[in-house]
């Protein structure tokens, strides 16, 4: 899908999502499936928390030596007969991929699930160049035929129900018998398998992402459950890996640590079905496998993130646990975030990649409940990083005016206790008189955001500080009087 950025319209997107009944029904299942399975998988492995520490440390070490691991990785890919291409930005990555496809004489390319391809808007670009991209991950295929973007990084079609899928299949697979039964997920899956099998075998180029790149061996790794990524990279003559800088890890042992937390955090499996390590093109004597192997390594703003607080975000291994556990994501789904990466990880990454001007809503649309950080397999302090974006927004005077003035008004008093105390006493006195009879307000000036959906309690009366002092004074007086009587 094209990279239409609608993040500035987050509020409108969210309202639309909340009113979308099929979407709400689909989202209601996120909690039941992902959250329960993750916690069960974590509970079964006593070393899980220690592995999270290990995963964090490996990523930190790699990022601190990223230039050197990149060098080593590149050497090893070349030694294995592959090619490495560096792309500064999305446009360059698109051009590199298109050029390789053209040189391979490609008419169709199959694609495994790659978020980088979404980030750079690859499909539109390939189509414009006369090359037909075919998404092969079932979820990606479902959204490709609808012309939509993914709404989740590991479950791209999580927003759809089976009736919508049936409708799309009847429309797109018009050559199949119209009376066929597509009422169940099993029949839908069987049809997709049949349709895509032919595409796998016919494709000239296969494009996959990479969950990890291993510097030790020059290996790219994909993790899937369907096996589509393996078919994508094994059958065509050319395999292109799309990866970003931060996918590097030093060694096979290191990646084994990360793999132990990835599937458990993502789907609650001990290990995904297919974890595939690819190193270069087919070797002498091999009877299958691609004849050419290219890796495109994308920067697109990530090297800049290395310099400051956002480096921690580059530890992300794209498991999706943060969004599965996020109350905001669960309420509005992934499309509301308005770009490729939704949920808490998107709220941190998106402003870094598209700019805080466009992405400002995302780090603000969080309750800071902290559940994302609590489940992150590489312990990214996501709320802290979202707060960093709010700081940058505030420093650059991008915070919306009502919020800014409201905050300034409140801060003026909060910083002057001698004004704050009488002012709050007066305000509470007034409010408590006004709302005494009912005990709460159904509407309040300047609090429409609150009272649109909830009542606001009437203050009990005088402030705690004033009442406390009064009591203490009364007690002291009482003691003095008692003392005087003695």
């Amino acid at each position: 899908m094209s990279v239409q950025i609608t993040s500035p319209q987050f509020k409108a997107n969210a309202r639309a999502a909340l009113a979308d009944a099929p979407l709400q029904q689909a989202l209601s299942k996120v909690g039941l499936s992902f959250i329960g399975r993750r916690s069960a998988a974590a509970a079964k492995l006593p070393e899980f928390e220690a592995l999270r520490d290990s995963a964090r440390d490996i990523k930190n070490h790699t990022l601190a030596h990223l230039d050197l691991y990149l060098e080593r990785y590149e050497q090893q890919v070349i030694a294995a007969g592959g090619h490495v291409h560096f792309a500064v930005d999305a446009a360059e990555a698109r051009d590199i991929v298109t050029r390789i496809c053209r040189e391979a004489g490609a008419r169709t390319v199959t694609k495994g699930k790659t978020m980088i391809a979404e980030e750079i808007g690859l499909n539109d670009h390939l189509e414009a160049a006369g090359i037909q991209p075919v998404e092969t991950d079932l979820g990606e295929y479902l959204i490709q035929i609808r012309g939509e973007a993914p709404s989740h990084i590991i479950a791209p079609a999580i927003h759809l129900n089976k009736e919508q899928v049936e409708e799309d299949f009847r429309r797109v697979h018009a050559h199949l018998a119209p009376e066929r039964n597509l009422s169940e997920p099993t029949s839908l899956l069987a049809e997709a398998r049949g349709e895509l099998r032919a595409k796998f075998l016919a494709a000239d180029v296969g494009i996959t992402g990479a969950n990890f790149l291993v510097a030790e061996t020059g290996t790219s790794i994909i993790v899937t459950n369907e096996g589509n990524g393996d078919l994508t990279q094994t059958l065509p003559k050319t395999h292109i890996v799309l990866a970003s800088l931060e996918k590097l890890v030093p060694t096979l042992e290191d990646v084994s640590q990360l793999l132990r937390v990835l599937a458990r955090s993502a789907t609650g499996q001990d290990m995904s079905v297919y974890t595939t390590f690819s190193t270069g093109p087919r070797r002498a004597g091999d009877v299958d496998g691609p004849q050419a192997y290219h890796v495109v390594i994308l920067d697109n703003g990530r090297s800049g993130m290395l310099a400051g607080a956002f480096r921690e975000m580059l530890r992300c291994i794209r498991c999706g646990a943060c969004m599965n556990h996020c109350p905001v994501y669960q309420a509005v789904g992934g499309h509301a975030y308005g770009w490729v990466y939704p949920g808490p990880m998107g709220a941190v990454l998106t402003p870094a990649l598209i700019g805080i001007e466009k992405g400002a809503n995302l780090p603000n649309a969080s309750t800071f409940c902290g559940r994302c950080e609590a489940v992150c397999p590489v312990r990214i302090p996501l709320p802290k990083l979202m707060r960093h974006w709010r700081e940058k927004e505030f420093e650059r005077h991008l915070t919306p005016a009502p919020q800014r003035y409201g905050l300034a008004f409140w801060a003026f008093f909060a910083r002057r206790g001698w004004l704050y105390r009488p002012a709050t006493r007066l305000a509470m006195w007034g409010l408590s008189r006004l709302g005494k009879a009912k005990g709460r307000f159904a509407a309040l000036p300047l609090a429409g955001g609150w009272t649109k959906y909830r009542d606001f309690p009437t203050p009990q009366g005088d402030t705690f500080q004033a009442q406390w002092q009064a009591r203490r004074r009364a007690q002291a007086q009482g003691q003095t009087q008692r003392g005087g009587n003695r």
């Binding site: 070393e47 092969t136 079932l138 369907e226 096996g227 132990r260 290990m271």
Partner: protein, 227 residues
């Protein structure tokens, strides 16, 4: 002209405040690659051989694969014939040229039609020999090569895998050590497939279904006793 490669490296180094020439940094990286330290290894797979095999069997089945434990490699052809017959599949199987598979007593299953080569997607059943099994997750490890085409792991509806009990390791790290011993440091075969159960998808309404694009069934033929 400055290449994109140079721009990316310069940008990374600027952000890290490094030149790439610092001897201690280079040494640290070289040491890590050469030493490839193991991290946290789950204790659950650190078992005596017999229990390790039991764990492997349990985990294979937990991943929705099926498993036959055979006393000897000589039992493999008959076990394949039985597997196919029980599922009403034609008695035909495609295998790689692996000498370990070639050496099986195929005559013991005279009705079984055995083909050799990579899969083009038309075969219902494929047979591979695993390099190793991994007990901690019930994973089989397949290495690509002239004798073990990767397509056999992916295209047939039924993937049958011979795993020798002696090759079952507790954890992933043990297998990397063995692969390094076989291929040399820093070298991997073109493809290493870790396979844990049959293909599946939950992309439609999060309903987990087996048999997405890869094999609908994974059947492990575990051979022999633990050493």
């Amino acid at each position: 002209m400055t290449s994109s490669r140079d721009i990316v490296f310069a940008s990374v180094r600027r952000a890290l405040g490094a030149t790439g020439q610092e001897a201690p940094r280079r040494q640290e990286v070289a040491d890590r690659i050469a030493g490839h330290p193991r991290g946290i290894i789950p204790a659950r797979a650190d078992l005596p051989p017999a229990q390790k095999i039991d764990l492997f069997k349990d985990m294979v089945r937990a991943a929705d694969a099926t498993l036959d434990h055979l006393a000897s490699v000589a039992d493999v052809p008959l076990a394949i014939a039985t597997y196919l017959r029980e599922r009403n599949l034609p008695p035909t199987i495609l295998r790689g040229a692996d000498p370990r598979l070639a050496a099986l007593p195929w005559a013991s299953a005279p009705n079984l039609d055995v083909w050799i080569g990579p899969s083009d997607g038309r075969q219902l059943a494929g047979l591979s020999h695993a390099f190793a099994g991994i007990a901690e997750s019930g994973t089989v490890v397949m290495l690509s090569g002239p004798d073990n085409p990767s397509t056999l792991n992916l295209l047939p509806d039924h993937h049958l895998v011979v795993v020798e009990a002696a090759d079952v390791a507790g954890d992933y790290e043990t297998v990397w050590t063995r692969i390094r011993a076989a291929y040399g440091p820093g070298v991997l075969p073109r493809t290493v497939n870790w396979i844990t159960g049959p293909s599946r998808s939950a992309d439609i309404e999060q309903t987990l279904l087996l048999g997405a694009h890869g094999p609908r069934s994974l059947h492990v033929l575990l051979v022999g006793a633990a050493l």
